[in-house]
């Protein structure tokens, strides 16, 4: 069994003159909960389309679950997708749609009905199970669309903007649902809300212009094991700090102090040394965290790219 649930190598896709994917190479380890981050037009939706067989790539190689490109004969029921902005059949009820999709995944009629009820419960739509899709609000339709991606016991789940248009409390619920998938299956989720991805995902990939700019474990991308980031109350000068940092060599940018850990250096030890010194020197410390936020890592990846 391949250790990757999904591998894309040099995948290209054009729509007329627009290059939606421009040699995309991306590996998603089996069991990972990966966040796919990128601006509009980065190619996230096209990537999901290519992986799920809805979009035909012009070039490159796609390997789903270690068994080659998507093929319904091999992958149906083992991979599910939440596509972006796709309507569900308006005249059927939520339960009818889910039961139909579960049947297509190979479940028996009885099992499909049970499964439909299970996922409706999961996305808190049990009370609207009999409602026609056309009678549901936008947020409810989105939850129903998420529910269909959780049908059965897929090995790989692709979710394109699952929290788009959801109320804040449902976003939290969605985060819990995603978190509950950890260890059970591989999940790739795209979102513009980086804080959500940071809270849920263990892997992340930054996409831009149809290519993957950076990918890896969240800890690595945000440098959790290599950086102590201290948010100061107000900007300081480096000279002010030099005296209190005891020969350490931090990086100061306005009111943010970044201390790069040497290999083997204990971050707790660094904090124990730095914080009292800073406070003694009159610096207000607002926050101490290991590594950057995902948002900062993403922005710094973008700015490095812009600089090039």
């Amino acid at each position: 069994m391949s250790r990757f649930a999904l591998r894309l190598k040099g995948v290209e896709k054009r729509y007329g003159k627009t290059r939606a994917l421009d040699g995309l190479t991306l590996d998603v380890p089996r069991g990972a909960l990966m966040g796919l981050v990128g601006p509009n037009g980065a190619g996230k939706t096209t990537t999901f389309g290519v992986v799920s067989g809805a979009v035909r790539p012009d070039a490159g190689h796609v390997d789903v679950l270690g068994e080659g490109p998507f093929d319904p004969a091999r992958h149906a029921g083992r991979m599910t997708v939440l596509p972006q902005d796709c309507a569900l059949n308006p005249s059927s009820s939520a339960r009818q749609i889910l039961a139909f999709q579960a049947r297509l995944q190979g479940l028996t009629a009885k099992a499909a009905a049970r499964e439909a009820d299970r996922v409706l419960e999961l996305v808190r739509l049990s009370d609207r199970a009999g409602s026609r899709v056309s009678q549901l609000s936008h947020g409810m339709k989105r939850r129903l669309a998420v529910a269909q991606a959780l049908l059965g016991d897929p090995e790989l789940v692709l979710l394109d903007e699952p929290t788009g248009g959801l109320d804040p409390h449902l976003v939290v619920a969605m985060r819990e649902i995603l978190g509950a998938q950890r260890g059970q299956r591989t999940v790739v989720v795209s979102s513009h809300i980086l804080a959500d991805l940071e809270a849920t995902c263990d892997h992340v990939a930054f996409m831009e212009d149809g290519r993957c700019q950076k990918s890896g474990p969240v800890e690595e991308v945000t440098r959790r094991g290599a950086l102590v980031r201290i948010q100061l109350a107000e900007p300081m000068r480096l000279e002010q700090l030099a005296a209190i940092l005891d020969g350490r060599d931090p990086e100061l940018e306005g009111d943010v102090l970044r201390y790069h850990l040497s290999p083997g250096e204990d971050p707790a030890e660094v904090q124990r040394a730095l914080l009292p010194a800073l406070i003694e020197a009159g610096a207000g410390v607002l926050e101490v965290r290991l590594g950057e936020s995902l948002e900062a890592a993403y922005m710094s990846s973008r700015s490095r790219r812009d600089d090039r």
Partner: protein
């Protein structure tokens, strides 16, 4: 949770059936199709009502000629009308076949009328209602919820099957409506004989409709735009009737009789007359060819759908 995955061919058939059932259900739940079914039934009923009124007018004229009492209910003199040499002459001119004309004179008139209405209007109805069956799902994106669960051929075949069942329901409803009108309006109405003929004509009209349904769903697979697929559907319908008619013109038949006659066979209208023939064999051959034409039209569209982005 038990996912039962059977061998590929069986799985394809199973998936097509699951899609067809859902599609039929979704269609019956939607207003659009209710309108379609109502149109089917109303068309047959309206034609039957008009027919009985015309029949009454003819009977009154006939009664005047024969110097017998006028009747208040049409159908009292139906037998006399059916035996009138003028009617036979009209039929012979219409079908260009004396034997067939004589056979048709033995069919209950309401069943004849139903068959004529169904063969004339079913192609238009199926093209109107089904040419967006696939393009509609592609344009809204709902197809993307299905295509990672089953293959495109099974899904599209399921849509074809669903729409086929729907047109079958429509044709059957129309026949029931025609029978009820005949039962209520005609004095010399033979309930069982008419029902038997109507049942037979539902089947023949169903195959004629299926050929056009294949055309509509073939076209529906060519584009993701609903307005385009509807326009293409109407164009394709006009083309198959127009081309068949053009190939049948005397000038063309004289110029290249074999080629013209052979080319005509790829259009459903070429097999319409055989659906009227009393011989079961003629009807079966025509229905088989019509079914094959429907599948071929559908398959041509599917060649494109199978390769393009959904």
């Amino acid at each position: 949770m038990s996912a039962t995955r059977s061998p590929a061919a069986l799985r394809g058939l199973r998936d097509a059936w699951v899609v067809a059932r859902f599609d039929l259900g979704e269609s019956l739940r939607s207003r659009k199709v209710l309108i379609f079914l109502a149109l089917y039934a109303a068309g047959a009923v309206a034609a039957a009502v008009i027919f009985t009124e015309v029949l009454q007018d003819i009977e009154e004229a006939l009664a005047e000629q024969l110097l017998v009492a006028r009747t208040s209910q049409p159908g009292s003199l139906t037998q006399a009308v059916m035996e009138a040499p003028e009617l036979r002459l009209v039929l012979v001119r219409l079908v260009r076949d004396e034997e067939l004309a004589d056979a048709l004179l033995r069919v209950p008139p309401i069943a004849l009328l139903y068959h004529w209405v169904a063969l004339t209007f079913a192609p238009v109805f199926v093209v109107f209602t089904s040419s967006d069956a696939i393009s509609g799902e592609v344009s809204t994106g709902s197809v993307r919820y299905a295509l990672f669960r089953t293959d495109r051929t099974s899904w599209a075949a399921g849509k074809l099957l669903g729409q086929t069942l729907l047109s079958g329901v429509g044709l059957a409803l129309g026949a029931v409506g025609a029978w009820i009108v005949g039962y209520l309006q005609l004095a010399s109405f033979a309930p069982l004989e008419t029902a038997a003929w109507l049942a037979r004509y539902v089947v023949t009209a169903f195959f004629f409709a299926f050929a056009h349904l294949g055309l509509a769903l073939g076209v529906s697979q060519l584009t993701r735009s609903v307005p385009w697929s509807r326009a293409l559907g109407l164009f394709a319908l006009a083309f198959v009737f127009g081309a068949h008619g053009w190939l049948g013109r005397d000038a063309v038949q004289e110029e290249a009789p074999v080629l013209a006659a052979s080319l005509q066979q790829v259009f459903p209208a070429a097999h319409r007359l055989d659906l009227w023939r009393p011989s079961l064999w003629d009807g079966v051959v025509a229905m088989t060819v019509l079914a094959a034409l429907g599948f071929v039209y559908f398959a041509i569209g599917h060649l494109r759908f199978a390769r393009r982005d959904a």
